[in-house]
Amino acid sequence: MRIQAIIKRIIRQFLRDKRSIALMMAAPLLVMTLLWLVLDMEDHVPTIAVTDAPEPMEAALEAQEATILKTDAGRGKEALENQDADAHLLFDSGQPELRMEGSNPTATSAVQNVMSRAVKQLNPNAPAFELSFLHGSSDLNLFDNTGSVLIGFFVFFFVFIIGGVSFLRERTQGTLARMMATPLRRWEIVAGYLLGFGLFIIIQSIIIAAFSIYVLDIYMAGSFLSLLVITLLLAVTALSLGTLLSAYAKNEFQMIQFIPVVIVPQVFFSGVFPIESVEWINAIGKIMPLTYGADALKAIMIRGDNLDAVTMEIAVLIGFSAAFIILNVMALKRHRTL
C-alpha cells in the first residue's frame, strides 16, 4: 500500500509536468528523425572528370551511375580543385591515371565502385561474384546499422535524466527526509520509483521503437516484442543508475554533469563506432550497460535473433539493475540508518 502510494504520486506528478512528458516521449522521436535525415541517404552519385579516355572506357563509365564530365587536362584539374568533380580520370599516352578529390570518404568509395564496375564491364572474362547476404541486405545503410543502437541510447539517456532529476528533487525539496520520518522502508521508496516510472518507460519504449520501425522504416528482422523487452531492461538500468547517482549530486546542474562522464562514453563503446579490432577498448565497453543493450538490439533488429539468443545480455542488464538498486537502498542510509 505504501509502494502503491508512491507509484500513484509519481504518476500524478508526471502527468502534470507536460514538459517532462514531452522530453521523454517526443524529444527522442525528433532526434531519431533528424538522424534518419542525415544517415538514411541514397548512394552518392559521383562526378568524374574524364580526359582523353578511349571510346570503350567512356561508354563503360557512362553505363554506370555516375556523372561524366569530358574535359581537357587543365579543366579537369580545376574541377577537382573546385570540388566540381570527385575524381579525374586521365589517359597519359594510353596509361590511365585516376586522381581522387579525396576529402570525402563516401565520394571516394563511390568513385572506386563505379571504376571497378566499369573495368569489369570492359573485361567480362574476370570472375564475377554472386552476392548474397546472411543478415541484412545491400540496402542496409548507416541509419539501419546505428539506429538499432541509438534506440537503446535514447531510451537510456532520457530515462536517466528524468529519473535522476526527480529523485534528486525529492531530496532537495525535503520530501525524501519527510518520507523517511514515516514508517516507510528504504527499499519501498526505490521500488515505488521503479514501478511509478515503469509505466512511462513502457510507453516511451513502445513509442520510440514503433516510430523507428513503422515511420522511419528502420531495418527490422526480429520481433517487436523482443525489442521491447530489451529497451525496457535498458530503461530500468538507466532509471536505477540515475536515481543512485542523484545521491551524489547537490542540484540539477550537478546531475547534468553526469552526462559527459556516464552517458557519453557509453555511446562510443556501445557499437555506434566500429571498435571491435582494439581489444583493450572492447574491455572498457564490457563494464557499460549500454553495450549489452546495444548488442542485443543489433542481434534482434539486424540478425533477426530471438530473445533466447541474447540471454547473456539480458542477464547482464538484470545484474546491473539489481546492483544499482541495492546500492541505492544502501545509499539511502545517509538519510536514515534504519
Binding site: 500500500m1 500513484k8 506528478q13 525539496q173 519527510r178 520520518a181 514508517p183 534504519l338
Partner: protein
C-alpha cells in the same frame, strides 16, 4: 506521569564542529514542550535526532521506553519539518492523501481525517488547488495538517507558526491545546519569545548545550527577570554583551 521522551547524554558533531553537547532531557507524557534557542543553536539537529533521521555520535533517544529509530515508533510520531516538504505539482488534498497512505490510514478513515485536519488549519476551501498557488503560510498550515493526520502520540514541530498570521496562529494554538487534552505530547522548536511563553516547559538551547530548563514562570523566577528574553540572556551569561541593546 511517565516520561514519554528520554534523551540520554547526546553528543553530535558535524564536520568536527560540536553541534550538540551533553544533551539529556526527559519530557513527561501530555506536555507541550518548547525548545527555545536562536538559529544555529542546534534545535533542528536535535529534532532530527529525536525523530530518527539523524544518528547522534553518542547518546540514545528513547520514546515510550523504546529505542529510536524504530518503525513502530515512527508510526506514533507526527513531524513537521522546518522547510515545507511538499509536492508543488500536486493539490493540497493529493499531498495529504500521499502521506496518509504512507501512515497506512484506511481509505474511509482518511476522508474523515483529511476534512478534520483541513478544518483545523483553515484550508478546507483550498484543498483542491495545486500548491503552486499557495502562499508560504498556507504551505506551513498544510505541513501541520499532514503532521497530525494520523493522530500521533507525539507531535514534533520545527518552527510551526513561522509566516502564519496572528489570528490563525491563535486558532492553531487552540488546536495544540485540544490535542494536548486528548493526550498528545507536543515538542516544538521556536525562537519567538511570546510563543515560548505558552509552552508548559522550556529548554533553552544555546550553542548546542542546554543552559536552563523549566516552566516559563520558573525560568523567570530563577533568573529574577520579568521577561523570558531577559531570562535567556541571564542564563546565557551574556547580560553584559547585550546591555547595549536595551
Amino acid at each position: 506521569m511517565a516520561n514519554l521522551v528520554n534523551l540520554d547524554n547526546i553528543h553530535h558533531s558535524y564536520h568536527k564542529k560540536t553541534v550538540l553537547n551533553e544533551i539529556s532531557l526527559a519530557i513527561p507524557e501530555g506536555r507541550l514542550f518548547g525548545l527555545l534557542g536562536p538559529s544555529g543553536s542546534g534545535k533542528t539537529t536535535l529534532v532530527k535526532i529525536i525523530i530518527g533521521l539523524l544518528t547522534p555520535d553518542s547518546g540514545t533517544v528513547r520514546i515510550d521506553g523504546e529505542l529510536m529509530p524504530s518503525f513502530q515508533l515512527m508510526q506514533k510520531i507526527g513531524y513537521m519539518a522546518q522547510s515545507d516538504a511538499l509536492y508543488n505539482e500536486l493539490t493540497a488534498r493529493e499531498n495529504i492523501q500521499f502521506f496518509a497512505s504512507l501512515y497506512q490510514i484506511p481509505k474511509k478513515r482518511q476522508k474523515e481525517r483529511i476534512s478534520e485536519a483541513a478544518e483545523l488549519v483553515s484550508l478546507s476551501d483550498e484543498l483542491d488547488k495545486t500548491l503552486e498557488t499557495f502562499s508560504g503560510g498556507m504551505k506551513r498550515r498544510l505541513s501541520l495538517a499532514i503532521a497530525l493526520l494520523h493522530q500521533p502520540k507525539l507531535l514534533i514541530l520545527d518552527e510551526p507558526t513561522v509566516g502564519i498570521d496572528p489570528v490563525l496562529r491563535a486558532s492553531i494554538w487552540d488546536a495544540f491545546r485540544k490535542m494536548q487534552q486528548a493526550g498528545t505530547t507536543i515538542i516544538m522548536t521556536t525562537h519567538v519569545m511570546d510563543e515560548a511563553e505558552k509552552c508548559d516547559n522550556l529548554a533553552l538551547l544555546r550553542d548546542g548545550s542546554f543552559i536552563a530548563e523549566g516552566s516559563p514562570a520558573d525560568l523567570k523566577a530563577k533568573s529574577g527577570t520579568a521577561t523570558l528574553e531577559a531570562a535567556f540572556l541571564h542564563f546565557g551569561g551574556t547580560e553584559n554583551a547585550h546591555t547595549g541593546n536595551h
